[in-house]
């Protein structure tokens, strides 16, 4: 153990976006594990390469792109050597050697050398006046030369080519883009979209020469023009080559580390040499190389997890999306939008407004997305692409986006690009578009980071889509919004599912055990993870798991709903909305005796006593003698009913009785989010069963069962799950469905988004078609509910302490 006294040494080659992101992640996980040295070829600290075009276009200054300044390195005790290329890796002695002959020993080595601009292999490609477009030096050189005006020819109409064209055009040069294919961005667009894009850029004064193969750069001693293979030529003062990028593998290759297109790594980002890790554009993983920041940051997270010696995460590849960052041109593409056998296309073309949308489907899943002119639904579609959602139910409005069904209070605000900077994006916290964009440019990359830094989208979440659009248009892609890969919260890098798996496999029985076992960054967790993990523990181990009161939201700890002034509301259970004169009298008397400030009928067919001080809660519960309505909990709320067969002239089924039975069977059920049910006695559907998590409608032959409805922030009509004959079957299906939801949905995910995510087919398979699974699911729910007692009765009997009274009263 002697040499444990000295810290292990980590050397990072490449002071760019992926390398430094890995270091940042590592410092968050294991701040003291390594002595870190970083070598960078460029003479700058780590800057945001994505923002080179705004710098070239004169919209930003170079200093504003710095992500980590010199103080950051110093503050973390990192030795930074800029302008210092590493030329050799001595794997035998485990050290690296720089161009100036310096050496640095390592215990672990991280290669993050990025990629280099590829140059077209044509004569004259080394003449003065030929530029590449990759780093700050290129931008400085282009900025300088552009002051002389004149003609600039760009070879290659990919993302970089169009960006540099935009930048030089903004600098006043006459720009011509030359491309060997028939339309620009041929890898991101089809012919129709390409033509629309070309037209829009031409309108800004940029010329295009398509289907031209460059043959030679012309000029004596410096660039004078460009000749094509067909013999024609055009004059040029400068030529910029944006024909692709090549991973920088030279260093690894000479050291004998296996490379193909890029440096080969496994799912832990480890190279062929176990002491050497690699991340970023220089890497080849499962046959893929990546040229966008989002996947590189996912790699960084996993590499850091292994460098920190946690060894639990895997990188399994990424699906990427692209967004052209040229102001005023809206373009979004992802996946395979070309289609082919067994695929279908949904398209929408509005040539007048310059809007073109295309979604490619295969077996009810989205395979490719291409949006031009209006990209507002890009992030939403992309999430479905990545999640492989079954979109059968969404098909009719897929091209209009989720806002189509009515996004309460946000109608018309889906065109974020056209909004002025002062427009309010986050209604809960009053954050404007301009504030969000400037925060992103200051170095934010993910939704989580924007939430943390600006509060936008951090409250009710209904502006999340708008914030994602701003991220996409500022950063050129969609970042970290995938539910599957998303970390549970800032206290950990593990996803909801990874945490659940660990709880199940390792038999973790309390929040604290989970935090300890998974090395939570914050031993006390936060308001995000504590309730979630407590819920996961309790669903996995309903009997043995410890229900940690300190991990429950205040409402679930006080068993009442906290109000703005710190008082509480009391809503007793009124099964199926059916009460009696005696019960009503009792409620009235209690309200009167305690001078309850307001008594209100709720939207859920029951009575609410509002404005009760915490100290009075136990007394009121005792006097009411009714069970808790759980109106405060992520739990079963109401089961609404209509009059039904017994009295109503149209009723064909006894909906009130079924509602009461459902509520009695399911009360005290905790869930990922609140759960609401309804039963209507005939298709007139007076109980609004089709906007409930689980709703039934009586028909002559029995009951229709609907799931996944929602009437709150985002209205969603429920989907028909099945038809059954008897009430017993309804109850069984309800139990099976709700248990599946309890076991599979993420904490705070309501049934509506969950049903969309997993698809009706899978739910039907388990809760309708397979009788064995249905029974098992229902039995597990029965068992879980059996472990729960009515909290109000428990408190009245002195078995549950809600800390109603103050700790003490201190008098002067």
């Amino acid at each position: 153990m002697g040499n444990r006294a000295r810290k292990a040494r980590l050397v990072v080659v490449g002071n760019g976006m992926a390398g430094i992101r890995t270091v940042e992640e590592l410092l968050r996980m294991a701040p003291d594990l390594y002595e870190i040295t970083v070598f960078g070829d460029e003479p700058h600290p780590n800057y945001n390469r994505i923002l080179l075009t705004p710098v070239l276009a004169g919209e930003m200054r170079m200093e504003e792109t710095i992500l980590n300044d010199y103080d950051w390195y110093a503050g973390h005790g990192i030795t930074l050597c800029t302008g210092s290329p590493v030329v050799q890796i001595d794997r035998v002695h485990r050290r690296v050697i720089t161009a100036s002959g310096e050496t640095a020993p390592y215990d672990r080595l991280l290669l993050a050398t990025g990629a280099a601009a590829a140059m077209a292999p044509i004569p004259g490609n080394d003449l003065p006046g030929v530029y590449s477009y990759r780093d700050m030096r290129d931008v400085e050189a282009l900025t300088q030369v552009s002051t002389g005006g004149g003609g600039a020819v760009i070879i290659g109409a990919g993302l970089l080519g169009l960006e540099v064209a935009h930048g030089l055009n903004a600098r006043g040069m006459q720009v011509t883009v030359v491309h060997r294919r028939a339309w620009p961005l041929d890898r991101q667009l089809d012919g129709r979209g390409g033509a629309m894009l070309q037209e829009a850029m031409e309108a800004r004064g940029i010329r295009f020469l398509m289907e031209r193969e460059s043959a030679a750069v012309l000029g004596e001693g410096r660039v004078e023009g460009l000749r094509f293979q067909d013999g024609s030529s055009i004059p040029a003062r400068i030529v910029v080559m944006t024909v692709g990028i090549r991973p920088r593998t030279g260093l690894a290759q000479t050291a004998g580390v296996a490379c193909e297109q890029g440096i080969l790594v496994n799912d832990t980002l480890q190279t062929y040499d176990p002491r050497i890790y690699a991340v970023g554009e220089c890497v080849q993983h499962r046959g893929m190389t990546y040229g966008l920041v989002a996947p590189l940051f996912e790699q960084a997270k996993v590499a850091a997890n292994h460098l920190a010696e946690y060894g639990r995460m895997r990188y399994e590849g990424s699906v990427t999306s692209t967004k052209l960052k040229v102001t005023g041109i809206e373009l979004f593409s992802a996946g395979d939008f070309r289609g082919g056998d067994n695929t279908e296309e949904l398209t929408l073309l509005d040539a007048h407004q310059g809007i073109y949308k295309k979604v490619v489907l295969q077996e009810h899943r989205i395979k490719g997305i291409l949006l031009y002119g209006d990209t507002s639904i890009g992030p939403w579609l992309f999430e479905h692409l990545r999640e492989e959602t079954d979109i059968s139910a969404l098909r009719d409005h897929l091209l209009f986006g989720e806002t189509h069904l009515g996004d309460a209070g946000h109608a018309g605000a889906n065109q974020v690009a056209r909004l002025p900077d002062t427009a309010e994006i986050c209604g809960c916290n009053g954050i404007s578009k301009g504030q969000i964009i400037s925060a992103i440019r200051d170095g934010l990359f993910t939704l989580e980071e924007v939430r943390k830094c600006t509060k936008a989208s951090a409250s009710c979440g209904s502006c999340t889509g708008l914030v994602e659009q701003l991220l996409a248009s500022t950063l050129g892609g969609v970042y970290g919004s995938s539910a599957r890969k998303k970390a549970l919260c800032g206290c950990t890098d593990y996803s909801h599912q990874e945490v659940r798996d660990a709880i199940q496999q390792e038999r973790l029985l309390s929040v604290r055990e989970v935090f300890r076992f998974l090395d939570w960054r914050n031993p006390g967790g936060c308001a995000g993870c504590r309730p979630a993990v407590n819920y996961y523990v309790r669903t996995a181990w309903p009997a043995e798991g410890y229900d940690d009161a300190s991990a429950r939201f205040i409402n679930e700890r006080a068993h009442a709903n906290i109000q703005k002034d710190g008082t509480y509301s009391v809503i007793p259970r009124i099964y199926g909305g059916v009460t009696t004169p005696a019960e009503l009298k009792r409620i009235a008397e209690v309200a009167e005796r305690h001078a309850v400030p307001m008594v209100k009928f709720t939207g859920g067919q029951r009575l609410d006593l509002l404005g009760v001080p915490k100290e009075k809660l136990p007394a009121i519960w005792a006097e009411l003698g009714m069970p808790s309505g759980h109106a405060y909990g992520k739990a079963l709320r109401t089961v609404k009913s209509c009059v039904g067969q017994e009295f109503c002239r149209f009723g064909v089924q006894d909906s009130t009785r079924l509602a009461i039975d459902l509520e009695k069977n399911l009360e005290r059920m905790w869930a990922p989010h609140k759960v609401k049910l309804a039963a209507s006695g005939c298709p007139r559907n007076c109980a609004e069963s089709t906007v409930k998590d689980f709703g039934v409608i009586g028909v002559d032959s029995g009951w229709e069962i609907y799931i996944g409805g929602n009437g709150g922030m985002k209205v969603r009509a429920a989907d028909l799950l099945t038809r059954v004959k008897s009430e017993a079957e309804v109850i069984l299906v309800a139990k099976a469905f709700l248990q599946m939801y309890r076991e599979e949905a993420q904490y705070l995910e309501r049934t509506a988004p969950w049903v969309e995510r997993v698809g009706m087919a899978r739910i039907r398979e388990r809760v309708v078609e397979d009788p064995v699974q249905r029974e098992e699911l229902a039995a597990r729910l029965d068992f879980a509910i059996l472990q729960e007692r009515d909290p109000w009765a428990e408190a009245v009997a002195g078995r549950l302490d809600i800390h109603a009274a103050p700790l003490r009263r201190v008098s002067a």
Partner: protein, 106 residues
């Protein structure tokens, strides 16, 4: 500074808090997962939420109403929010918690 006994350490749930009524107003007594105690005015600088009902983690309390995070050592809200809540000294003697209140204050 005058010191008042508040009760036993185990009456304040770790990771959460209780409140006390004092001549200096309602004060939240909070306890983190390691058993460290803090005392602050029981009014969130945002809109007056009762901090005694929030989650406590490390030296931070999360307000139960809109999730502002407040540093319990300084009383300052964590960025991006801005605001401050007054802090008070607490100490323990054996199992007893003591709260320090400014002497002459009403």
């Amino acid at each position: 500074m005058q010191w008042f006994p508040l009760g036993k350490v185990n009456e304040v749930p770790p990771g959460g808090g209780r409140y006390v009524e004092t001549p200096a107003g309602q004060i939240a007594v909070l306890c983190n997962e390691e058993g460290t105690l803090f005392a602050v005015h029981n009014r969130c600088p945002h809109r007056g939420g009762p901090l005694s009902e929030g989650f406590v983690s490390g030296t931070t309390v999360f307000c139960p109403l809109h999730n502002w995070q407040i540093d319990l050592c300084s009383g300052e809200a964590l960025p991006p929010d801005q605001g401050c809540v007054r802090t008070f000294p607490v100490r323990t003697e054996g199992e007893e918690i003591w709260l320090g209140l400014p002497g002459e204050q009403p």
